[in-house]
């Protein structure tokens, strides 16, 4: 009797496994651009091209020719510095020419990081020389006192987000940034403060919301 019970239990396990594998794994669409399956009524993109979904916006990213200007503009700088131009020229060949969604690559993202870092550094240098009231991004930063607290980080991140992302940051994004800075930097010197600001600004300027079109 006990032996039969075990067999029934195993059968239930096997049937449950099959049902679960069918029931809980069909959430994603298997058709069209977003999935592509044999026999789908919409031809799958088998060659890396984007297939348009009717009545929807086509995802795209910043094109190479606009990258530097866009970063300079979102940092509220008037024109790129020679250092920024040099950095951009060094890496621009890896940035998408057309801004197509399917042209994004790992070197392209890395290039965005290196250009952003230089532009962020230019912004810090520019605003360091200004009175707090005249600054656009680092309004609450005390460049004479190298400490950097959470409220200063949040205020700066909000200004950067509004300028580069075109929106207010989510609470989670603010928390990600401040926690990350707390975890990766210790000590309060002028250089460390600059490093923290470059770090925060570069992370935000290189994240997807900045180069999404």
């Amino acid at each position: 009797m006990k032996k039969h019970k075990n067999i029934y239990q195993w059968m239930i396990y096997i049937v449950s496994f099959f049902v679960l594998s069918v029931a809980y794994n069909n959430c994603g669409s298997l058709s069209g651009e977003n999935g592509g399956s044999a026999g789908s009524s919409v031809a799958p993109s088998n060659n890396g091209d984007i297939i348009a979904i009717p009545n929807t916006k086509t995802a795209s990213i910043l094109r190479a020719s606009r990258t530097l200007d866009s970063l300079v503009s979102c940092m509220s700088l008037v024109k790129p510095s020679p250092a920024a131009v040099a950095e951009f020229n060094k890496v621009k060949s890896s940035i998408s020419e057309e801004g197509l969604a399917n042209s994004l690559t790992q070197p392209m993202v890395k290039s965005m990081v290196s250009v952003s870092a230089v532009v962020c550094n230019d912004l810090i240098n520019k605003e360091r020389a200004l009175a707090p009231a005249e600054r656009l991004i680092f309004k609450t930063i005390d460049f004479t006192n190298p400490g950097l607290n959470k409220s200063q980080i949040h205020d700066t991140a909000k200004r950067l987000a509004r300028s580069c992302w075109g929106r207010n940051p989510e609470v989670e994004e603010l928390d990600e940034i401040s926690v990350d800075i707390g975890r990766n930097f210790s000590g309060d010197t002028n250089q460390i403060q600059t490093n923290k600001l470059v770090y925060m600004c570069t992370a935000m300027a290189s994240s997807f919301s900045t180069y999404e079109m």
Binding site: N26, I50, K110, S114, V179, S207
Partner: protein, 490 residues
């Protein structure tokens, strides 16, 4: 870092997680007008983790063939590429007369009655055989062969196979579908760091259109610093003030921020593909930053520097430095496909001088690639293309000048090197020339650069012993009988 700070960070992280779950819950309530109740709804709302999908294989995944799975859902992975040999394209832009170097044969495998429009005179062309039994214009006529031999040792050539593909193509045009790198990338060759390197800013990295499949956006390399910049982060500039662990953390933060931001384009055309590429790219940057950096600078490689004729003080934009470093990055697996381009091949200027010089330069580059592979003990597959070719005045003179374009006399080359031994082949020519001294466009590949490129892919896969990949990559472009005719590697 003090224990108190660590605890605070931990607490903040838990709080972030709690808020995420709360936000997912609220979003679900707003979009569905009710609270999630069933297990399925809780999963959909992101309140429960997807443990079921993590542990069970999908039925679709088990039943659908490889080709049916969306390319857009996969990161370019080097996993299957590990078994594929480096693939290097050399494009001779302008219309090189390759058929006056390699001597094309007719349908019966015999020499043509005459080559008097091809700058080789009558049918009694002196033949010099290399790569086993492959006929080249001898007595120094083929400058490509002369320079190839000058830049690769006899031992290296003894382990190299050569196959020619007579194929007509458009003269002086960037519209020929000769680029095979997209197909090769789809087969799995993407490199550990850089998926595709090219010489100019087209979508193929050379002045050719892609056949069948668009390749990964090539990193255009016109200067060694292009590669160095793509491999290193923050070697100079403000990021150089950060410590290495801080640079890695910065890339991780960018990844996390981008992953949450990308969700909003998921429903746009191409959105899921873009979301996937952003995830792949940002995560790959973290992975690369955590690893020891490979050296691809050919000047720093004491064995390869002499092959490319470069030294420590050779400039970053020197062509040999650029090509040598691109080739090295392909041979050591840092990059996937590599496309080199040499210009100046529209050389029909009423002389043979310029053409001979350019052909020699092509031979030198091919020889250097082969020799580099030999020195590193790596396999390599080289694909040589051009756009159109040349014609000479009808003449028995084997040094007749090039007078105009003549795309119907086009030829592409494949070379494969294996450090163990010469890869076996069943022949050295796919298709043939006609008595009219032109590629026979009635043959499968003779009139179509795209089909010729597919034939190159088929031979590349055969060379790699990976014919299982041909259908997933190009479907049923060729039937079995056609494959028998176009595959020469055995």
């Amino acid at each position: 870092m003090s224990r108190k700070i660590e605890k605070e960070i931990q607490k903040e992280e838990q709080e972030i997680q709690r808020r995420k779950v709360e936000k997912n819950f609220q979003d679900y309530c707003i979009s569905h007008g009710k609270r999630p109740m069933t297990r399925r709804e809780l999963l959909g709302a992101g309140v429960l983790s997807f443990s079921a999908t993590m542990t069970l294989p999908t039925l679709a995944g088990m039943l659908l063939p490889l080709q049916a799975r969306a390319q857009s859902d996969e990161c370019p992975s080097s996993a299957s590429g590990l078994s594929l040999a480096p693939f290097i394209t050399l494009n001779l832009s302008g219309g090189a007369m390759l058929a006056s170097n390699y001597v094309p044969m007719d349908a019966g495998g015999q020499t043509l009655a005459s080559y008097n429009k091809m700058g080789l005179g009558n049918g009694a062309v002196p033949i010099d055989r290399e790569f086993g039994n492959v006929p080249f214009a001898g007595e120094g006529i083929s400058k490509l062969l002369v320079q190839l031999r000058a830049n690769a040792t006899a031992q290296t050539l003894a382990k190299t196979s050569f196959v020619a593909i007579p194929v007509r193509s458009r003269d002086d045009s960037g519209d020929n579908l000769f680029d095979a790198s997209g197909m090769v990338a789809k087969a799995g060759l993407v490199g550990t760091d850089l998926p595709n390197l090219g010489s100019n800013s087209t979508e193929t990295g050379i002045r050719q259109m892609y056949a069948k499949i668009k390749p990964p956006t090539p990193l255009r390399v016109s200067n060694y610093t292009d590669i160095a910049g793509a491999l290193a982060l923050g070697a100079t500039g403000p990021l150089s003030n950060l410590e290495e662990p801080q640079k890695i953390s910065l890339l991780r933060l960018i990844t996390r921020l981008s992953e949450s931001q990308i969700q909003k384009v998921n429903n746009q055309s191409g959105g899921r593909m873009l979301a996937n590429l952003v995830g792949c790219a940002t995560n790959k940057n973290v992975e690369l930053a955590e690893r020891e950096k490979p050296t691809v600078d050919v000047r720093q490689d004491t064995s390869l520097a002499p092959v490319w004729g470069v030294a420590n003080n050779t400039g970053d934009n020197n062509q040999a430095v650029v090509f040598g470093s691109m080739v090295k990055s392909a041979l050591i697996g840092v990059s996937g496909t590599v496309a080199l381009e040499q210009g100046g091949y529209d050389y029909h200027n009423g002389t043979r001088t310029t053409g001979d010089q350019r052909d020699g330069e092509a031979g030198a580059t091919i020889g250097r690639i082969l020799e580099s592979a030999a020195l590193l003990g790596k396999k390599v597959f080289i694909y040589v293309t051009s756009d159109g070719s040349c014609v000479s005045p009808t003449s028995d003179d084997r040094a007749a000048p090039w007078s105009s374009d003549r795309g119907e006399a086009g030829v592409a080359f494949m070379l494969a090197y294996d450090p163990q031994a010469r890869p076996a082949t069943s022949g050295f020519q796919i298709g043939h020339f006609t008595s009219g001294q032109a590629a026979d466009d009635k043959f499968i590949t003779g009139g179509s650069p795209e089909l010729a490129s597919c034939a190159v892919l088929a031979n590349y896969l055969k060379f790699n012993n990976r014919m299982d990949l041909i259908t997933p990559v190009i479907g049923s472009t060729f039937n079995t009988s056609q494959l028998d005719q176009i595959i020469k590697f055995t």
